[in-house]
């Protein structure tokens, strides 16, 4: 399992990578591994909409489960990665890069403090 140090993690297994005033979000390697083969994604937010920290951003379905993807940060949705709708398997093969889910303009950078860094997230996953 891989955890990248350049981003922060939520307890519900999403990551956010800060890029200037925006945050790019996605799901962790741990999350995709737990879900197994992901076959479907539906975005519940569109560019231009507001999303709150912890609010459902998308739902994903694997061959054995369905899960909500919560936004790890609050802000305005700038982009969603529509290519995932045709190739949801990217969430399994490349969760940190090609399978980014959205770009959100941060409302409040302080929210990032409530998230875990890579080390903390690794210990959190081990404890489960």
């Amino acid at each position: 399992m891989e955890t990248l140090g350049d981003r922060k993690y939520a307890k519900t297994d999403e990551w956010v990578k800060v890029e200037g005033k925006n945050g790019r979000i996605g799901i962790s390697d741990y999350a995709q591994d737990q879900l197994s083969d992901i076959v479907f994604i539906e975005f519940l937010k569109e560019p231009g909409e507001q999303v709150n920290q912890g609010e459902i951003f998308a739902t994903i379905e694997s061959v054995k489960a369905a899960a909500d993807v919560n936004s790890p940060i609050s802000g305005t949705v700038k982009e969603i990665n529509e290519s995932l709708m045709d190739t949801p398997e990217l969430l399994n093969s490349n969760p940190f890069d090609k399978a980014w889910m959205g770009v959100i303009e941060l409302n409040d950078e302080k929210e990032l403090e409530s998230l875990m860094d890579a080390g903390e997230y690794d210990s959190f996953c081990e404890s489960r």
């Binding site: 479907f40 539906e42 519940l44 379905e61 489960a65 369905a66 909500d68």
Partner: protein
């Protein structure tokens, strides 16, 4: 009485939860309620009970004893003997829901064939494994549309000419979803419904629900209305009486997004009102949005064909409290009956049955309309069901006909006080020329009396 637990096992369970005796376990129940006197008659032998049940059963009149022109959502079609024969095979009859594909291939394949046949009949790409009945299948289209639009479109426009019971079930299903609105255009006739409804379609419309033929038997072409609905961004759902599809245009050809209905008429007897079976079909693009389950065909590790439950991700056993549908089950045995019935009839058989129903109904309508004082209410074409206007209360007609062994039809005043002289009459292939002539003569006599 068979109680599977031994005394030792019961004592072990009591020990685990920390009470000494069974009496102690029930101490919170007030003493006078613990073993109430149930005031039951003395025990009877099996022979006596069977006698008693037979007497009770004989007090019922079934359509085998009467001449029936009752329809209104449940139809007395002929069921070939092979349906019941195959249905009662123990392998099917006692099978549990097929969660374990490795021991459920027979049931799964039967449902898969059912889905294929229903898809072929309706002309739709996707059929689920079935619902409880037509009304619940119809209600699921509203829920599907609402969640498809991510709760952003909140209005379900419903034709006032769908089965009134279906509207009740729809209200019951939707009451748990707070912000969804049911809008029934205030119109007096199906023609007016087609004219006025476009004014109600806008960016809040999630679904338009109509029935084909409508509750009064009318066949309308909804193509233009659906086009206008799609322009407004909403989805179209048609409740369909499946027999009509043997000879008439399917709402699939009108670009309906969902076709649902009651499949009791495809191989199930009236069963005194249930169990029935709802069919639910849609376009491929909504396959991940629909309720219920779908059986899919696949290959196993040895490259052999096999069947599994699939695409159940909206259901409560996977999504828990976030489920958008709570109907995980289907009518497995009834789906099998439908599959056997449709296989027996085939394309030409289905066409034959529909043609016979159509022709017989039009014969009866012609005969009744030639009676002085009676007229046909339908202005549009109809299939096998139509409304007559009687010269006296429909309830009266029904009562007098029942006296001579005829179920004359459905008294429409039960749902609409303005229709107190109107009877909804259904004809199937089981209605004979003799029974129809007998009925017409009886109506004539009612008039003369």
């Amino acid at each position: 009485m068979y109680i599977p637990h031994t005394d030792i096992e019961r004592q072990q369970m009591l020990d685990v939860i920390g009470v000494k005796t069974l009496e102690e376990l029930f101490r919170d129940v007030p003493e006078e309620y613990r073993n109430p006197n149930l005031n039951l008659p003395v025990g009877q032998s099996e022979m006596e009970v069977l006698d008693q049940m037979r007497l009770l059963a004989e007090a019922n009149n079934s359509t085998d004893d009467l001449i029936s022109f009752l329809g209104a959502g449940a139809y007395d079609h002929f069921v070939p003997s092979a349906v019941d024969m195959l249905l009662k095979r123990g392998d099917f009859f006692s099978a549990y829901t097929p969660y374990q594909p490795e021991i459920s291939q027979g049931t799964l394949q039967a449902i898969f064939e059912y889905q294929t046949l229903i898809s072929n009949l309706t002309g739709m790409e996707i059929s689920n494994a079935s619902h409880y009945d037509g009304a619940t299948a119809a209600a699921e289209t509203a829920i599907t549309a609402y969640y498809h639009f991510k709760k952003k479109r909140k209005t379900v426009v419903v034709s006032p000419f769908i089965h009134p019971d279906y509207i009740q079930v729809l209200r019951t299903y939707l009451q748990a979803i707070e912000d969804i609105q049911i809008l029934i255009p205030d119109v007096n006739s199906p023609d007016e419904f087609l004219d006025v409804t476009p004014n109600y379609l806008n960016d809040d419309t999630a679904l338009l629900l109509f029935q084909y033929p409508d509750f009064l038997g009318n066949l309308y072409d909804y193509t233009t209305l659906i086009e206008q609905l799609h322009q407004a961004g909403g989805l179209a759902a048609s409740i369909v009486y499946p027999q009509v599809l043997g000879i008439m245009k399917s709402p699939a050809a009108m670009d309906a997004d969902f076709i649902v209905g009651e499949a009791q008429s495809l191989g199930l007897p009236l069963n005194f009102g249930g169990p029935y079976i709802g069919f639910f079909t849609t376009k491929k693009e909504f396959i991940r949005k629909i309720s219920g389950r779908i059986v899919g065909e696949t290959i196993d590790a040895d490259n052999k064909r096999g069947y599994v439950l699939t695409l159940t991700a909206r259901e409560q056993h996977i999504r828990r409290e976030k489920a958008t549908s709570n109907i995980c089950t289907n009518q497995g045995l009834n789906a099998l009956a439908v599959a056997i019935y449709l296989s027996l009839l085939g394309k030409t058989g289905m066409n034959d049955v529909s043609t016979i129903c159509y022709q017989k109904a039009h014969y009866l309508a012609t005969q009744i309309s030639s009676l002085k004082g009676f007229s046909i209410v339908n202005k549009a074409p109809f299939f096998n069901e139509f409304v007559i206007e009687c010269p006296l209360d429909a309830a009266d007609v029904n009562k007098r006909m029942a006296g001579i062994g005829i179920l004359a039809g459905f008294d429409l005043s039960q749902f609409d006080v303005n229709r107190k002289n109107q009877l909804l009459i259904a004809v199937t292939e089981k209605s004979t020329r003799e029974s129809m002539d007998y009925y017409v003569n009886a109506l004539q006599e009612v008039l003369n009396a």
